[in-house]
Assembly symmetry: C2
Homo-oligomer: 326 residues x 2
C-alpha cells in the first residue's frame, strides 16, 4: 500500500485517479477502477441528460461496492448545458467525490460543501491551483504540458509544474499528464505530489469502453503521436495525430477560424472513433504517455501492478542507489 | 552518496552534470563543480580559439584537482569553426570526458575512442539516443521540452521522454531539462535515469560567471518566464522572456525570416547580458526551472545539499508512504 494525504482525504486505497474522460468515463471503466481501489470518475457530460447520469451512477453501483466520483467539466458551449441539474443529480445520488474542471470551481463550492462532497479541482497552473485552494477545494489535480486533452496555454511540463505547485499548496496534489506506470507514480511522489491521475493509460485497459482499434493504436503509438489543436484559438487540446487533427492544425495555422474546422472537430466524430474503431473518423484524445504503454491489461492488473512495482522501485532501486556515507 | 552506472562509467562522485553553457561554462564554474564531486564541462566554443581553450583547461586545473570535461557543440554556423583543432586541444590537454551536442557524434567517435575519451552525447529524442548508443557513445544526456536552450522540435516532456529512453537504452542516461533540486534528481532516478544535468540551476550559483542581475532575475522569475524562439525555423531555443526575445517571436510569427532578426539574436548581445547585467540587451538562455530556484548558493552547497536531500527523500518521504501489506 502507498498511503498519502490524498488517499486519506478522499477515502481510497491507492493514490491513483482516473479523472474525467469524455465518452470513456462510463460505468464499465469506473466500476473497475473503483473495485481496484483507485478513484474512478464518471464523466457527467458523457451522459446526454442529468437523468441519464443518475441512471449511470446506479449502473456503476451495480458493478462495484467501492466508492467512485463524478467529473463535472464546466466549459463555454454553444448549446446551454443544465449544470445545476447535473449537480443535483450528483448529490441526490449520494456521490461524495466530484472532480471539477474547465473553470473556476468557486460558484459550485457552497452547494458541494453543503452536501458533504469532497472536491478535486483540475487545473493547469500554479496560480489556478492556489486560487482553487483559496476557495475551499479539498485537492487539486494539476495537468502538465504533456497531458492528453487540455494542457492550458502555459506549456509548463510536469517535472517543473508539480514541484512548483506542491511547494506552495497545503492540500493534496495529484500529478496529471505524462504518467502511465510505476516510474511515473514514484517520480510524482518524489516531486511532492500525493498521487497521480491517468487518462490515456486507463483508456488502454480491457474494461475501457473504446474499440480495440483504439487500444491497439495506443500500444503501437509512441510519444510523438499527438497534435496540439486549437493553439491559435487559445483553447489548446492534445489529441491523437491523424488525418483529421493534422488538417485542423493546418487550417488554423493558415489563418482559419473555428468555423472553418467546426465540422471536423464535432464531438460525435470522436464518439465514432471510440465506438467503431475508425481511427481517422474524427478527433480523439490521447497523451504523450502512449510512448510508455505497451499492453492492454485489466484495470486490476494495472493498478495492483503499478502500486507493487512502485513499492519495489522505492525499496530496491532507489534505496540501492544510496551507498555509504554522504 | 548516490552511485549509479553513470558515476561508475564517468568516474565522478555524484550523478549530477553541469553540461555545456555558452558564456557560462568557464574555469570559475567548472572548477567549482568538479571540486563538489559533480561533473562540470567547459564549453569549448565559449573560447574564441583552440589555443584559448587549452589555456582555459590549464586555468581550470589550477583551481581544482578533480576531473572535469569539455562540451563540444557542433552546429551549422556562418563562420567556419575549426572543430578538428578544438578536438585536438581537448585530447592534447589530457581531458577524458567530452560532451558532444548539436549533431550526430559518429564522425568524432574514432578520434575520441583512440584517445581514451568517454563521450556523453546530448540529444532530444529517443531515436537520436538509440543512434548515439549504436555509434559507441558511453552515455546520453537527454533534453526534454522543458529544458533551456535547444529542446528540439518534438516537444516531448521529460516525464515521458526519460522513461521512454531508459526502457530501450543500455548505456547510462542523464535526464536533462526541468531539474533543479533533490526532488528532480529522485524523480529522474525513479524514471530510470542514472543522473541529471542542470544548466539554469548552475547559472544561479555564486561561482557562475554571470552578472548578479541575471542570478536575481532567475530567483525572482517563475516557470512562465521563458520564450521559445526560432520555432518557425525549426531550430527552437528556449530563452528568457524579455523585450528582445518577445520581439523575435513576434517578427518570426509574422512571417519574418532569420535575416529579419539576425541583429537581435547576435551572440555578443547575450554575452553583454551576462557581463553587464543589462537583462534586455539580448537573448539569454534560461529554463522553466527558474520557477524552482529561490537562492544563489555556492556550487558546493548546491551539490551537497541536493545529494543529501535526495537521500533523505528516498529514505524518509518515499519509504514513509509505503505502508502495511500491498
Amino acid at each position: 500500500m502507498i498511503s498519502t494525504p490524498f488517499t486519506e482525504v478522499f477515502g481510497v486505497r491507492h493514490p491513483i485517479v482516473q479523472g474525467g474522460m469524455q465518452w470513456v468515463g462510463t460505468a464499465e471503466l469506473v466500476s473497475a477502477v473503483a473495485s481496484s481501489g483507485a478513484l474512478g470518475m464518471l464523466t457527467a457530460l458523457t451522459q446526454p441528460t442529468p437523468e441519464a447520469l443518475t441512471a449511470e451512477i446506479a449502473r456503476t453501483r451495480e458493478m462495484t461496492d467501492q466508492p467512485f466520483g463524478v467529473n463535472l467539466t464546466i466549459l463555454p458551449s454553444i448549446k446551454p448545458i443544465p449544470y445545476d441539474e447535473y449537480r443535483h443529480a450528483i448529490v441526490d445520488a449520494g456521490i461524495t467525490v466530484v472532480e471539477t474542471a474547465g473553470s473556476n470551481p468557486e460558484p459550485h463550492m457552497p452547494f458541494f460543501r453543503e452536501h458533504g462532497v469532497k472536491v478535486l479541482h483540475k487545473c493547469t497552473s500554479v496560480r489556478h491551483a492556489v486560487k482553487a485552494q483559496a476557495v475551499g477545494v479539498d485537492g487539486v489535480s494539476i495537468d502538465g504540458f504533456e497531458c492528453a486533452g487540455h494542457p492550458g496555454e502555459d506549456d509548463v511540463a510536469g517535472l517543473v509544474l508539480i514541484p512548483a505547485a506542491t511547494r506552495v499548496l497545503d492540500i493534496p496534489v495529484i500529478a496529471s499528464g505524462g504518467i502511465a506506470n510505476a516510474q511515473g507514480l514514484v517520480a510524482a511522489l518524489a516531486l511532492g505530489a500525493d498521487g497521480v491521475n491517468m487518462g490515456t493509460r486507463f483508456m488502454c485497459t480491457q474494461e475501457a469502453p473504446v474499440h480495440d482499434n483504439v487500444k491497439q493504436a495506443i500500444v503501437e503509438g509512441d510519444e510523438l503521436g499527438t497534435e496540439l489543436i486549437f493553439r491559435t484559438l487559445r483553447n489548446t487540446s492534445r489529441v491523437a495525430s491523424n488525418a483529421v487533427s493534422r488538417k485542423v492544425v493546418e487550417v488554423l495555422a493558415g489563418g482559419g477560424a473555428f468555423e472553418d474546422v467546426r465540422d471536423l472537430v464535432a464531438g460525435v466524430r470522436g464518439r465514432t472513433v471510440f465506438a467503431d474503431g475508425d481511427l481517422d473518423a474524427g478527433i480523439w484524445t490521447v497523451g504523450q504517455t502512449q510512448g510508455l504503454i505497451h499492453d492492454v491489461p485489466t484495470v486490476a492488473e494495472l493498478v495492483e501492478g503499478m502500486v507493487s512495482e512502485a513499492e519495489e522501485l522505492i525499496a530496491t532501486r532507489l534505496r540501492g542507489l544510496v551507498t555509504g556515507a554522504a
